[in-house]
Amino acid sequence: MGTLLTDATRQWADRTYPVHRVTVTVGDIRRFAYATGETDPIHFDRAAAQAAGFRDVVAPPMFYVFLRVLPNHLRPRSELEPDGSPSEDIPPVAIKGAMAGETELDVRSSFVAGDEVDCHKRLVDLTEKEGHSGPLLFLTFEHRYDVAGETVVRERFTRILR
């Protein structure tokens, strides 16, 4: 029975990735709102957002996905793999495939245009389990999106390697 959790892999436990700062624009929020079928003017119009008590145009709750994907995918074309994705910065394991596991979100408030968001990422857990066809490695990442030191959204995302 093989194992994926080698000493080299174990050294990735509690790894902290570089922090990316993203300044959220009205355009970023409008694009996400149109792409997801939102109709409430608070996502498009500054005056409507302000009338509802927000400082500026406000993002829908799942907007954080943009903040997760952008820093990773916004890079030169030459750095993208044939499948269009950047190569993943994950432990060196010989894998046949990867699957998305559970996502757990803690949403404390809403992103507003003009926010300067610090996107933090940490590998918080590496666990091996025995699957039907061999070992499975569960990688749990914590992403934290902070504005002026306050966490707006915290996400725990598990990736399963086999």
Partner: protein
């Protein structure tokens, strides 16, 4: 209108989505996702072995978050915010398929409403989750 306030066991008003290639493109563009499986059909079916372009997992999560938010906003007459949301993808959904989004209220504690939610295609669940909604602001 106390009789419309959410109560344990209430079903959320069902929502249907049939995302087409334009919907998938817009979502990829909005989050700057360059992953080919959401726009290149030949590559996705030929190389990756999918039955079509998969609908993004996070887009399905958006549908489920909206399902609860819109239902509860209509009942409560106020803006609602999702405070917690846990979900996982259990089977793929492909472009052109109709996702039926459903859910029910599992508990109500003061102004916090907990719901279970899921999306299904032809009776097969594709994404399942549970969330907690609170009044916005």
């Amino acid at each position: 209108m106390a009789d419309v306030l959410p109560a344990e066991g209430d079903e959320l008003a069902e929502q249907l989505h049939t995302p087409d290639a334009v919907d998938l493109f817009q979502f990829s563009a909005a989050i700057w996702l360059t992953h080919r499986i959401h726009y290149d059909g030949d590559y996705t079916t030929g190389v990756e072995g999918h039955a079509g372009l998969p609908v993004h997992g996070p887009l399905q999560a958006v549908y489920l978050e909206q399902l609860a938010r819109r239902d509860l906003e209509a009942r409560l007459g106020t803006r609602v915010r999702i405070a917690r949301f846990r979900f996982r993808h259990v089977a793929p959904a492909y472009v052109g398929q109709t996702l039926t989004c459903r859910g029910r209220v599992t508990s109500v504690e003061a102004d916090r409403v907990n719901c279970e939610v899921w999306a299904e295609v032809d009776g097969q669940k594709t994404t399942v989750g549970e969330l907690e909604a609170v009044p916005a602001g």
